[in-house]
């Protein structure tokens, strides 16, 4: 279980998360919807361990263990995966080299041995084929010159390779055309499993047509202001965030 309890986060003295509470159960897809600037990306970065943020109160627990003191790499090894809203370009590092380094780093952290190169090549090629990622792209520097859609597919490919326990998808749908959206959603759905939870952050109902959430949370001004079923997303699509933003004010 991924639990976020009373999380308070500031950046440069500015409060961004104000006592946020949220639980993602294994096997569950939880959606977070909320207006721009409500703190969704901040939440995802804080879970992944980015250190630009001051956590002034609260806890983030995986199966009861607080991960706030852990480094990002330790959290990754513990099963956290963040699909970035803006995947970072890394010139000079071939995508393949990066994938191998991350997969083996996580294996080592779990006390497993490195995956052999032939095995690695096989799993990467299979994952790439499923996401319709051109194998030639894997030779190119990571994310450099990739289109928006290619970057997002690459994020999902990484998630597939690393098989995390909790996948956090920060606006993975933004900048995708309908075909890319279908491929990405298909990739996520293929990873749905009893022991794996997802936190799907999105602006639009559209993505949730493809990835059916079990629960929808509405976030505003750094808090979860409403929780409901998948229907809540449909209601938002009609009425917008007005009601919830006003409530929080």
């Amino acid at each position: 279980m991924l639990e976020i309890k009373n999380l308070h986060v500031e950046v440069e003295g500015k409060k961004i998360l104000n006592g946020l509470n949220l639980t993602v159960n294994p096997g569950e897809v939880a959606a977070i919807m909320g207006p721009n600037g409500s703190g969704k990306s901040t939440l995802s970065y804080v879970i992944a361990g980015k250190d630009d943020y001051d956590v002034t109160d609260g806890e983030i627990l995986i199966d009861g263990e607080n991960i706030l003191d852990k480094d990002p790499e330790e959290r990754a090894a513990a099963g956290i995966f963040l699909a970035f809203q803006y995947p970072v370009e890394i010139p000079g590092v071939a995508t393949m080299t990066f994938l191998k380094a991350s997969l083996n780093a996580q294996r080592r952290a779990r006390g497993e041995s490195d995956m052999s190169t032939p095995d690695f090549m096989r799993v990467v090629r299979e994952a790439a084929a499923k996401l319709e990622v051109d194998p030639d792209m894997l030779k190119r520097p990571l994310n450099v010159g990739f289109s928006g859609g290619e970057k997002k597919r690459m994020e999902i490919l990484q998630m597939a390779l690393l098989s995390p326990r909790y996948g956090i998808l920060d606006e993975t749908d933004s900048g995708l055309d309908i075909d890319a959206l279908r491929i990405v959603a298909g990739g996520v759905n293929a990873l749905r499993a009893e022991n794996r939870g997802f936190l799907v952050i999105t602006h639009y109902q559209r993505l949730l047509d493809y990835i059916k959430p079990d629960v929808v949370h509405i976030m505003s001004r750094g808090q979860i202001v409403k929780t409901g079923s998948a229907d809540l997303a449909l209601e938002l699509e009609k009425n917008g965030y007005r009601d919830y933003v006003a409530d929080a004010a």
């Binding site: 250190d51 990002p72 790499e73 990754a76 970072v88 890394i90 000079g92 590092v93 991350s102 780093a105």
Partner: protein, 442 residues
């Protein structure tokens, strides 16, 4: 009334005077270079210091606390040590072994092979030909650089490698400088590589210490690349980590349509001053100077270059990368001079540094002196820490911090290795960079 300014010798300078007095007429006699005159030139100006512009960031006068006595000629013991090491090394083409500064024909391999002829510096100085001796003398430069005068006064040995006009030598020619490192000593060498018209060659210069005694080295390497000839030169050091102080000068002259790529890998925590003097004497030549310096502790590496365009339509490139950890210091000074009439010169220099610690320092000083109007010259310099967004991205995928840094740093360094020498040489260079980065992780 004019006041005579008298310079007070430092301890190291006084020691050098004493050492030269003890050595002259001894092992160094018989050569045609006037060592006394060279030493007199040195003694007049002394060691370079920070009030000399080219040495501003590397004050040799205060850095050199002591001067070591010249290393003695190889003995049975040091030769045996070298043989043990050489037995582990594979050799294909020409390999010149210079042990503790002394040319060692018996330890070398294939000194004569089709298109390549290699002789000992001391033999050439003693027997000519005079044209070669003139090129070895670099007298114009010596007048400005007291470390070259010092080099002339103390040089123990070196190699003169001649690649015949038109010869295409594919197997790299190796200049292997070994120091026995059993006790503190000073090594002084001078070598010349001449690549005849239309010829092409690759020279790999390797410096390796077989023991960890402190050393002081003063190396000079003269590269003459004639019309339409091509030379790739790579220098690197490996072996025991010792307290080393190195001054290395490269003097390169390019003819028309010539091509030179010269790359230097510097690693460790010693003191290194590398100075390069590249002159374009004929039109349409290309010169590409590169380097990677990987420094930690209180290491200090200075690369100072003077590139002089005397001919039209030449292209010069300088690309230097520094990775600086702990309290290390990097210096890059690049001066491009475009002489009157050297139209259509295309010169670019770039220096990039990455700090791995707050205590590290980089000095960048690019300079252009342009006396022609139809030229394209540019320079750039950057220094900063690794990109935090990139680091976080890698770590969020489970890659530990040091390994993530290493990935980014390898990518940073790789650009300077592109196109240098052969695949095998690039592999060795990449591997050396990787090794340095990995030892940081332990």
């Amino acid at each position: 009334m004019t006041a005579e300014i008298t310079r007070i010798n430092t301890a190291a300078e006084s020691k050098l005077i004493e050492l030269f007095g003890a050595a002259k007429g001894g092992v160094y006699s018989g050569a045609s270079l006037d060592r006394e005159a060279a030493f007199a030139r040195f003694a007049k100006s002394g060691l370079p210091h920070r009030r000399i512009e080219a040495w501003h960031y590397t004050d040799l006068r205060s850095i050199l606390r002591d001067a070591y006595a010249p290393t003695v000629a190889p003995t049975e013991d040091t030769v045996a040590l070298a043989r043990t090491r050489l037995a582990e090394m594979h050799v294909e083409g020409t390999r010149v072994v210079i042990l503790d500064g002394y040319f060692q024909a018996e330890l070398s391999s294939n000194l004569e092979q089709p298109g390549v002829s290699t002789r000992s510096l001391i033999d050439v100085l003693g027997g000519g030909p005079s044209g070669v001796i003139d090129r070895l003398a670099v007298s114009a430069l010596e007048a400005q650089e007291s470390v070259l005068s010092l080099n002339a006064a103390f040089m123990q040995g070196g190699a003169v490698v001649s690649v015949a006009p038109g010869a295409v030598v594919e197997t790299p020619i190796e200049l292997l400088f070994l120091t026995s490192g059993q006790r503190a000593g000073a090594v002084t060498t001078r070598s010349l590589v001449e690549v005849g018209s239309g010829a092409s060659a690759i020279v790999v210069e390797r410096h390796e210490a077989l023991g960890s005694a402190p050393s002081q080295s003063n190396h000079a390497l003269i590269l003459s690349v004639y019309d339409k000839a091509s030379l790739h030169h790579v220098t690197m050091s490996s072996g025991a980590e010792a307290a080393t102080q190195t001054v290395a000068s490269i003097i390169a002259n390019l003819g028309a349509d010539a091509n030179l790529v010269s790359f230097a890998l510097v690693t460790g925590f010693g003191f290194v001053r590398r100075q390069g003097f590249l002159t374009f004497n004929g039109a349409h030549a290309k010169g590409d100077l590169r380097g990677i310096s990987l420094l930690d502790h209180q290491g200090h590496a200075d690369t100072t270059l003077v590139v002089t365009h005397k001919a039209t339509h030449c292209e010069s490139r300088e690309l230097f990368k520094h990775i600086l950890d702990d309290e290390a210091t990097g210096v890059f000074q690049g001066k491009v001079i475009v002489a009157p009439g050297a139209q259509k010169t295309d010169g670019k220099m770039m220096s990039r540094a990455i700090f791995l610690a707050d205590g590290a320092t980089m000095y960048n000083k690019p300079e252009l002196e342009i006396f022609a109007d139809d030229v394209v010259c540019g320079h750039g310099a950057t220094a900063g820490f690794l990109n935090e967004e990139q680091l976080f991205y890698l770590r969020a995928r489970g890659i530990p911090e040091k390994e993530a840094q290493a990935l980014l740093l390898e990518a940073f360094a790789a650009e300077a290795i592109e196109g240098v020498g052969t695949d095998a040489i690039r592999e060795v260079l990449t591997e050396s960079v990787g090794r340095w980065l990995r030892q940081r992780q332990d």
